[in-house]
């Protein structure tokens, strides 16, 4: 499997990454090489094998639905790029 520069741009769009245009051909070549290495997996016989999500087969613990965290909004917003009145600011979404 190899990726063209256009396909790399499409994947970057899906990942919300703006690539440096000069890097796109390099990325296409490198990612194609990586996918070629990964293609070894297609030869493995996995018929009847169930996919593994957790090494110990554990499932997520549940906890009682009670409030345990104190409100630390100011501390958590102290490093935000832009806030106002306790809200995170982003560029205008709806015209």
């Amino acid at each position: 499997m190899s990726l063209t520069p256009e396909q790399v741009q499409q994947v970057a769009h899906l990942a919300r990454l703006e690539l440096n245009a000069e890097m796109v051909p390099t990325y296409a070549q490198q990612i194609s090489n990586i996918l070629a290495m990964v293609d070894q997996l297609s030869a493995a016989d996995t018929q009847g094998v169930s996919p593994m999500a957790h090494p110990l087969g554990l499932t997520q613990r549940l906890r009682p639905d009670v409030v345990t965290e104190p409100n630390r909004r100011e501390a958590y917003q102290a490093h935000a790029p832009a806030v106002e009145d306790g809200l995170f600011l982003v560029p205008k979404v709806i015209e």
Binding site: E18, P55, L56
Partner: protein, 484 residues
């Protein structure tokens, strides 16, 4: 003082030969004088270190000291430290001051009483095997400044090997503790998945990431791993299982222990230097009464391709949180929300992280999910079953840690596949979630060689004891690099 073991340091503190403040200041001075050549620290925290040292001295004076109280430690910069920058090797988090402590930070500093010397350099978001992907520049290997220290825990190993910290934390997603430990003559252990809390450890690939320690001996590693381990309700994958007494277990005889040698790991692929070192380690362990037998892990050769689907897939999901909105780098060029995401991420992430995000996005995308991600998770199950079968025949598994000694800067940095294949011996343990460690077994032209021990689930204690018995009979681990 910087050549003493942790037990010797603890004895010196308890006997008042030196105070924690004096010991901590000794390391701070060494860092100031010598780290310029290595770049192992990205942030030094002298005020915190000395305040914590004073608190430790007060605990020592009250007779309330634990095994590690007063002995300084440095943290890989992947662990959140409240009030201290936690950058994870990335421009994305260059200005991020963590608003809370990771569980292991609480355990090691507040509870065990170890002063925090600073935060250690690493590959960006722990993605790398050479520490060349760090936003803060590469770390140098103290054994040869022209060579890499390994990665991603490059700062952790360089500072401990050079005596700029007595011991350090590290993390291991595909070998990031064991490969750098092997490159710098250290003992490094990655415990069973879930043994050490991941709360406050910046996520790379959540089903593989595990914190551990790099130290100058198995005994030192056991002391710190003991203090880090245990159930944590704040980590949803933390093991609800009591931790063995790792330190008390260090005296047991290893006579009659059965260790497997997987034939797939001893095929072509390792250098003559590594082969000689590993074979001498096997011979040494035989004299201690260990029995060896050949075993097979037939799917182990597929661990690198499996990892380079699973890990990027998880990384692309985990790193979606860096969007320029709540924290981290924000582009000033953006005119709308989509540009805000794209430009912030494009500017904030380096090339290796971008590559892995794109691979992860690709293998999870519609039409490719079954062929790549699902197939990789199935092969992962086969790799896991290989280990399960092997541990019905043997107690532990021995293998090389790396294919060769530390390589020169730039050697593999333009060829991701060559860089990835460097981790061929370490990745399977992460995919299976078993504990594994690397320890020194020789030198080749002045460069350290390590070997790897892999254990069954929860068997950290036995791993550390075998390593300790090996180190009682050898002195490779005592060698230190010239000039430090």
């Amino acid at each position: 003082m910087h050549t003493l073991s942790l037990n010797e340091l603890a004895a010196g503190l308890k006997a008042r030969k030196f105070s924690s403040r004096e010991l901590t200041q000794h390391y701070l001075t060494r860092i100031a004088e010598r780290d310029g050549a290595l770049n192992s620290y990205v942030t030094v925290t002298p005020e915190i270190a000395l305040a914590q040292a004073d608190a430790a001295d007060a605990r020592l004076a009250r007779g309330e000291a634990g095994a590690l109280t007063g002995i300084p430690l440095a943290q890989k910069d992947i662990f959140c430290t409240e009030g201290v920058r936690t950058a994870c090797g990335s421009k994305m988090l260059d200005k991020f001051i963590a608003p809370y402590d990771a569980t292991i930070v609480k355990k090691l500093h507040a509870e065990a009483g170890m002063p925090l010397l600073g935060k250690l350099n690493m590959d960006e978001f722990a993605m790398g095997s050479s520490n060349e992907t760090s936003f803060y520049g590469p770390v140098k290997n103290p054994w040869d400044l022209g060579r890499v220290p390994g990665g991603s825990s490059g700062g952790s190993v360089a500072c401990v090997a050079a005596g700029l910290a007595p011991v350090a934390t590290a993390t291991d997603t595909g070998g990031s503790i064991r490969q750098p430990a092997a490159f710098t003559n250290l003992t490094g252990i990655k415990p069973t998945y879930g043994r050490v809390s991941r709360y406050g450890m910046i996520a790379f690939a959540s089903s593989l990431d595990q914190a551990g320690v790099v130290a100058r001996s198995a005994e030192d590693a056991a002391l710190v791993l003991q203090a880090m381990s245990g159930f944590d309700p704040l980590d949803s994958t933390s093991l609800e299982r009591p931790v063995d007494d790792l330190v008390a277990g260090l005296g047991a005889s290893i006579k009659g222990l059965k260790i497997g040698l997987p034939k797939e790991y001893f095929a072509d692929g390792m250098s003559a230097a590594v082969r000689a070192g590993v074979e001498s380690a096997i011979a040494q362990l035989k004299t201690l009464g260990v029995e060896f037998r050949e075993i097979s892990l037939p799917n182990a050769p597929l661990s690198v391709p499996t990892y380079y689907v699973v890990a990027p897939a998880e990384a692309s999901s985990n790193l979606a949180r860096f969007d320029g909105v709540r924290y981290g780098h924000r582009s000033v060029e953006a005119r709308n929300l989509e540009e805000l995401y794209k430009k912030s991420r494009g500017e904030g992430f380096g090339a290796e992280v971008q590559r892995r995000i794109m691979i992860g996005t690709y293998v999870l995308s519609h039409g490719y999910y079954d062929a790549y991600y699902l197939q990789a998770q199935k092969v992962r199950k086969l790799i896991y079953e290989d280990f399960k079968r092997a541990y019905t025949e043997v107690d532990l598994i021995l293998a090389p840690s790396t294919t060769d000694v530390a390589f020169p800067f730039g050697d593999k940095s333009d060829d991701p596949v060559a860089m990835y294949l460097n981790d061929i011996y370490t990745i399977a343990a992460n995919l299976a979630g078993i504990p594994a460690m690397s320890l020194p077994c020789g030198f080749s032209e002045g460069l350290p060689v390590g070997f790897q021990l892999m254990g069954n689930y929860f068997d950290e204690g036995r791993l550390l004891n075998v390593a300790h018995q090996f180190q009682l009979a050898t002195d490779f681990h005592r060698a230190t690099p010239k000039g430090f």
